[in-house]
Amino acid sequence: MTELNFPLAILAELTHRCPLQCPYCSNPLALEASSAELSTGQWKAVIKEAAELGVLQIHFSGGEPTARRDLEDLVAASAAEGLYTNLITAGVLLSKERLAALAEAGLDHLQLSFQDSEAAGCDRIGNYKGGFEKKLDCARWVKEIGLPLTLNMVVHRQNLEHLEEMLALAEKLEAQRVEIAHVQYYGWAYLNRASLMPTRAQLERATEIVEAARARLKGVMVIDYVVPDYYARRPKSCMGGWGRQFLNISPAGKVLPCHAAESITSLTFDRVTDRSLRDIWENSEAFKAYRGTDWMPEPCRSCERKEIDWGGCRCQAFALTGEAGNVDPACGKSPVHEAMQALATAESAKDETAFHYRTRKAGEAAAEKVPEPLA
């Protein structure tokens, strides 16, 4: 039997437009055009449907969600439905006045990204000159307005040497919380893997730094830490299980079980403009495909952890084995687990530093540059 839960959280990707071009962006390689974006009215209908479906939290993301002028309206509509509202932003388009308007509309929390602890690295990784200074302004305004602040920091081979400085920056900016997330390799990050993969020594050092900071900053700053799958022994519980707690809506209204799901080219995704959100959640082929445990192959099916990690990540299985229903290679029981770790070790030793930056043009040209599966 596959138990059907109500989704807890929704990630609303309002647009794929973004002034930054981070090489590990979680958006798909094929970026959606602004002309395809849902209207304000369509988003408001989605918000209402989501609340009725049991969603408690809405995360406004993108692209850069503040590129949408109706963000205040959508925050207000969500707050009116009783949803907890969170804005995930690069911060470079925000003014203090707009932040105040968002707070007034009912924004509960803001997550601000930093690509590095200092301007040179931050602006190079995001390919946006002057971004670091704008982010510092944004963080200051957020605190002045009195909104709770989380800093999001994605870490990889080219910025991990600054991890202590990144944590110090978060402390200095008085963030309540910081997310230190190692890059997960789908889409853009998969394309840029050879330039991003950390060495095992870097990973071990990073984990030590985070543990020491957690002890030192107990009760002051919460530190969330996401480790990279390629060096893991057990897979992560991706999204808390496929179609179990979470749904993602793309700018054009495609409903996805996770933000990377479109990388699984064997699936098709329904749109909020064609079917109700409830119908998609309960009945769509894409959500049913890997929900629960019935789809699992061996050794997952008889594994005692099957309802702990829910089989790990389908996007990763697809990227590395060509079949989304295979065992996640992050698991030690996968036949390609060792090959995956060997690949990580080999790529981490490269002196490759160039990025394929995230642009629509690069996304269109990316097809022949994407690394091959392992098997």
């Binding site: 109500f6 807890l8 479906l53 049991g54 408690l56 939290q57 009783g82 907890y84 969170n86 509960d108 929390h109 997550q111 009195g146 909104l147 709770p148 989380t150 402390e171 008085e174 309540q176 919380r177 997310e179 107990k218 009760g219 002051v220 700053m221 919460v222 969330d224």
Partner: protein, 95 residues
């Protein structure tokens, strides 16, 4: 610079901006909503958190609970103190 909050009998606990207590009607439970976090409250935790209104001190909350549930004050103080310190360390309670 922010400092760790230590909960004592004199602390006046409340939910900070960005943390919300609400009833989840779909699942018939009380939850605390916080940045990227969701805590499901059992009936005891709910009785405690409901009283964290930014006005009552921990001592007063404990007196109220001891009266309401006819339980020994020292036992309640220990439980309440531990729960509130844990919530404060998770930055979902201010005092």
């Amino acid at each position: 610079m922010t400092e760790r909050t230590t909960i004592t009998e004199d602390s006046v606990p409340g939910l900070p901006v960005g943390v919300k207590l609400r009833f989840d009607k779909q699942r018939d439970q009380w939850v605390i909503l916080a940045p990227e976090r969701l805590f499901v409250l059992d009936s005891i935790a709910l009785e405690i958190v409901k009283r964290c209104d930014g006005k009552a001190s921990v001592g007063e909350i404990v007196n109220d609970l001891a009266g309401t549930f006819e339980a020994p004050r020292d036992v309640i103080l220990k439980d309440v103190g531990a729960l509130l310190q844990d919530l404060a360390d998770k930055r979902i309670l201010a005092a």
